[in-house]
């Protein structure tokens, strides 16, 4: 099952999380809350909010593209687009909203609700307790210091979705991926003889 990563939605989800923390949030909290909200959406409607690739890391699951975008190198101070539209760095691992009430045009009320739920439930859970919670999720496998992809169908099976549901979600994901990559496919076609 494959999804298409939507960096605009991911950046808006991060901005919404920062807003729930009164304008400033850490890398750890942003990626963990997006992971948990993406996971909840997957289980409920068969797709994630951001379309990100979910991976296990030593401190639990994360959305990998979002993690990579926010995890700046030592010599970097500016976030890439579209993240920098919403957030600026206050330290290597903390981010502040540029606008205290950002416009979030691509997130539905349902998706904002999932992010709000993740924040209510896990937003103030102590670091060690949240890591333990993530390690106890059935899809977690210790990546031995690296990262390891999580197959969305594994999460769905652990959450007792039927094989028919998983097949249906795979078809929906394939159609959404096809639509999201149409322009890219068109450009590649031009390069073909």
């Amino acid at each position: 099952m494959r999804f298409h990563y939507d960096s605009n939605k991911a950046a808006q989800a991060a901005a919404f999380i920062a807003r729930l923390y009164n304008g400033e949030a850490s890398l750890f909290r942003i990626v963990k809350l997006i992971y948990l909200a993406d996971r909840a959406a997957l289980t409920d409607i068969g797709r994630t909010i951001t379309g990100d690739r979910l991976v296990n890391m030593p401190q639990g699951g994360v959305p990998s593209h979002s993690y990579n975008a926010l995890n700046l190198e030592d010599d970097e101070q500016t976030l890439p687009e579209p993240w920098s539209t919403y957030l600026e760095t206050t330290s290597k691992v903390k981010f502040r909203l540029r606008n205290t009430n950002p416009d979030l045009p691509d997130l539905s009320p349902y998706e904002l609700g999932l992010l709000r739920n993740a924040h209510s439930k896990f937003g103030y859970m102590p670091y060690a307790a949240l890591v333990k919670y993530l390690h106890d999720l059935p899809e977690y496998r210790d990546p031995q210091g690296s990262s390891h992809p999580i197959e969305p169908a594994d999460i769905l099976r652990h959450e007792n979705r039927s094989e028919d549901d998983i097949k249906e979600f795979a078809i929906l994901a394939d159609e959404a991926h096809f639509i999201s990559t149409l322009a890219l496919r068109d450009r590649w076609r031009d390069l073909l003889p």
Binding site: P105, D106, L107, E111, G113, I171, L172, F178, L182, D186
Partner: protein
């Protein structure tokens, strides 16, 4: 493309693919598509029944959970190689129901709602 058109995609998994309906279309803005599903566990904001479209033979709904916006470049690509086959368009009254459902759905983003509102505005000449 025009609002109300229905089509199947040439996606990788073709069997059991969903019928898509264009719920907004404007050459400058792009299009919004949604698919028709018979999974009645989904949000039941816009129910469809036989008579609403020749394809529909049992209670179905618009799966706003999976609504997609395509920009004009993506629409050009969709039209040139992305459509497997087109079916009859939905009748105008059904299209309006689907558009109003999009405005009421918990799954519609503000960007898509703004486009749908534009489509539902009375035309003035």
């Amino acid at each position: 493309m025009i609002a109300g058109e229905t089509f199947y995609l040439k996606a990788r998994i073709k069997e059991d693919g969903h019928l898509h309906v264009t719920i907004y279309a404007d050459p400058a803005d792009g299009i919004v598509t949604a698919n028709i599903s018979s999974d009645l566990r989904l949000e039941q904001t816009c129910m469809l029944n036989s008579g609403d479209h020749p394809f529909i033979s049992k209670p179905s709904l618009i799966a706003y959970e999976h609504t997609k916006y395509l920009n004009p470049e993506e629409v050009t690509a969709l039209e040139s190689f992305g459509i497997d086959r087109k079916l009859d368009p939905v009748p105008a009254a059904v299209l309006v129901r689907i558009q109003q459902g999009a405005l009421n759905s918990n799954h519609t983003s503000p960007r898509i709602k703004a486009l749908i509102r534009k489509a539902l505005q009375p035309k003035t000449n």
